[in-house]
Symmetry: C4
Subunit: 202 residues, 4 copies
C-alpha cells in the first residue's frame, strides 16, 4: 500500500468522524416538549422536519464526499485545507437547522439555511477543482465535469433561495426539497463511474 | 483486497461512529439533580432506567447491524440509503428516551418510544431484504429468513405497544423488556452462523 | 488476516469511539461563568478539577481497555456483552462528574462518584475473567492474575470511598487520587508484557 | 505489519476521534438567537468568529498532530501520556472559545483563551521532545529542531497575549490571528519533509 493511499484513508476517517458527529448532534436540538401530549409534539413538528431535511442533506454530502476522497491520489496541504473548509461550512448545519426549526415561517431563518448550504456547495466545488488539478487522467475528466456542472446548478439554486425567502418561503422550501431529489437519481451512475475507475486501476 | 470489501468497511465505520455517538449523547439527558440528596437522585431514577433500556436496545441494534453489514458483498447506492434510513430512525432514540424518562407514566411518551423502535425494526427489515436480494447464496437463505421472522415478530410487538400504552403502560413496558431478552439467546447461534459463513469463504 | 482478528479491531474501534465521546462530552459541563471575572472562574474550579480527574480516570481505563482487547483472540457473544456492560458504566462518568463538580462538599456526590468507578472496576474484572477463560495460554496466566489482583484492590478502595464520604470527603478524595497514581507506575511493565506476548506470536 | 505501527494507528485513531469531537461540539455553543432578525444574528457574530478562529486553530493542531504521530516508531507509555496531556488541554478549547465568544471585550476572557492555547503549545513541545528522544535518526534532527523553534515562538506569543489582554485586547487578537497565518506557509515544507522521510523508508 503506497503512502498516499494511507493518508487518504486517514483524511477520510477524520472527515467521516466529523460528519458523523454533525449528523448526530443535530438530534440534541430536538428537545422533549414540556407537556406530554400529542398536540405538544405536533408543535415541534417543524423542528423534526428541519432535522429530517438536514439529515438527508448531510447524508448526501457524506456519500458525495466519500466518492470524491476515494478518487484522491495524493493528500497535499492544499487538498487538506480545502477539505477542512468544507467541514467548517458543514459544521454550521446544526446551527442553521436549529434556527430554521424554531423559526420556519421567518424569511431570515429560511435565507440563512439556504445560504449555508450554498457555501457548502461552493466548498465542494473548490475541493473537486483541487482534485481535478491533481488528477490528469483524461478518462475521468468528463465524469468530473458533469458532477461539477450539477454542483454549480445546486449552488445557483441555493443562493437564489436566499432572496426568494423574502418573496415566498415556500419557493425556498421547494428548492430545499428539489436538490436532494436531484441527487438521488445519478447515484447509480456515480457508483458505476467509481467501479469503472476501480477496474482501470486493477 | 477487492474494492467492494473496502467500501463495506467504510460504511461500517461511519455507521459505528453514528451509533457510538447516539449511545453516548443520551447520557447528556441525565442532568445532575438540583439538590444533592439521595431522594433527589431517586426522582431521576426513571430517566436513568429509560437511559439503561435505550443503551441496551441500541447496543443490540449495533451487534445485529455489525453482523448484517459483515455479510454485505457490494455496497450499492440502494444499500447505502437503506442503511442511512436505519441510522435516521436510530438517531431519534435519544429524543424518545428523554421524552419517556421525563414522562414515564404518560401513555403518549410510552407510545412514541414504542413507535420509534417499531420504525427501527422496519428499517432493519428493509436493510436485510436488500442484502438478501444481493446475496444469491442459497446456503444462507434459511439463516436470513429465520432472522427476518424474528425481526417481524419484534416489529409487530413494538407496534402493538403503541395502542397498548393507552390500555396499560405496564403492558408496553413488558414488551420493551421482552424484546431485548428475546435477542440475547440466539446471539450464539448468530455468531455460529457467521463463523460458518466465514469458513465457507476461506 | 483471520476472521477473529478483524472483529477484534471493530470491537476496539467501536469502544474507542464511545470512550473518545465520553471523555470529550464531559467538557460540555464546563459552562462559561456569567460574569467575566477571575473570581467567577475560581468558583467553577471544583467543576474543572472534577473534569480533570475524570479525564485522567477515563484515559487510564482507555489505556487498560486497549491492552485488554489487544489480547483477545476471538470475539464471542459473551465477550461482546461484557464489553458493552463496561461501556455502560463508563458512560455514566460524565453524569457523576457533573454531580461531583457542582456538589464537591456533599457526601452524596462524592459517594456516587466512587460508586460508579467501583462498578467500572467490577465490569473490568468481568471482562478480563472472560478473556482469561478464552485464553488457555499458561504463559500469560501470571500476568493476568497480577492485573486482576490490582483491579480487585482498586474496586475495594472505590467501594470503601462510598461510606467513607460520610465520615470525611477528604478520605474519599484521597482514594480518588491514589488509584490513578497506582496505575501510572506499572504501565511500563504492562507495555513490556504486551511486547513479550507479541514476540511470542511472531 | 510490525506491532509498533499498528499501535501508532490506534493512537492516531483515538486522537483523531477526540479532536473530531472537540472541533464539532464547539458548534453547540452557537445557539440560535431568540428573535429571528438579522440584527439578532449580528449580535452573535463574536460567538461565530470565536468559533471560526478555534476551528482553524484546532484544525492546524490536527494537521500537525497527524504529521507528528506519523513519525512515531514505537508507542511507549510515556508517549501515550504526553499525547493524552495534549488532548486534555485541547479539550478545553470549546470552553475557552465559548467564554471568549460571550465576553470578547473582556480582558479576562481574551487572556484565558491565550493561556489555554499556550498550554496546548507546551503540550505539543513535550510530545515532540518525546518523539525526538525515541528517534535517533540524525537525518530528521534538523527538521524536528526547526519545528520546535517555531513551536517555542508560538508558545512565547500565546503566553505574552495573557498580560497583553490587559493593555489592549486588540494586541492579543493580533497574536491569535498571526499564529495561524504563521502555520499556513510551511505546510508545504512539512508535507515535503514527510514525503522525504517516507522515501527514505521505502
Amino acid at each position: 500500500m503506497p503512502h498516499g493511499e494511507m493518508t487518504t484513508s486517514r483524511l477520510e476517517a477524520f472527515s467521516d468522524g466529523v460528519i458523523a458527529i454533525i449528523v448526530t448532534i443535530m438530534v440534541l436540538e430536538l428537545r422533549a416538549p414540556a407537556q406530554p401530549t400529542w398536540s405538544a409534539l405536533l408543535k415541534i413538528a417543524p423542528i423534526f422536519l428541519s432535522y429530517g431535511l438536514s439529515f438527508l442533506v448531510v447524508a448526501i454530502m457524506w456519500v458525495n464526499h466519500h466518492h470524491l476522497i476515494h478518487a484522491v491520489h495524493q493528500v497535499t496541504a492544499r487538498l487538506l485545507w480545502t477539505n477542512l473548509n468544507l467541514l467548517f461550512w458543514m459544521s454550521l448545519t446544526p446551527f442553521v437547522t436549529d434556527f430554521l426549526g424554531k423559526n420556519h415561517r421567518e424569511p431570515v431563518a429560511v435565507a440563512l439555511y439556504g445560504f449555508d448550504l450554498a457555501l457548502c456547495g461552493c466548498a465542494f466545488y473548490l475541493l473537486r477543482t483541487e482534485l481535478v488539478r491533481q488528477d490528469r487522467d483524461t478518462q475521468l475528466a468528463g465524469h468530473h465535469a458533469s458532477i461539477q456542472r450539477k454542483n454549480v446548478g445546486s449552488i445557483v439554486l441555493y443562493f437564489s433561495s436566499v432572496p426568494l425567502a423574502y418573496v415566498s418561503i415556500y419557493a425556498s422550501f421547494f428548492i430545499f426539497a428539489l436538490i436532494p431529489a436531484m441527487y438521488f437519481l445519478p447515484e447509480n451512475k456515480l457508483a458505476l463511474g467509481d467501479r469503472n475507475e476501480q477496474r482501470s486501476k486493477e
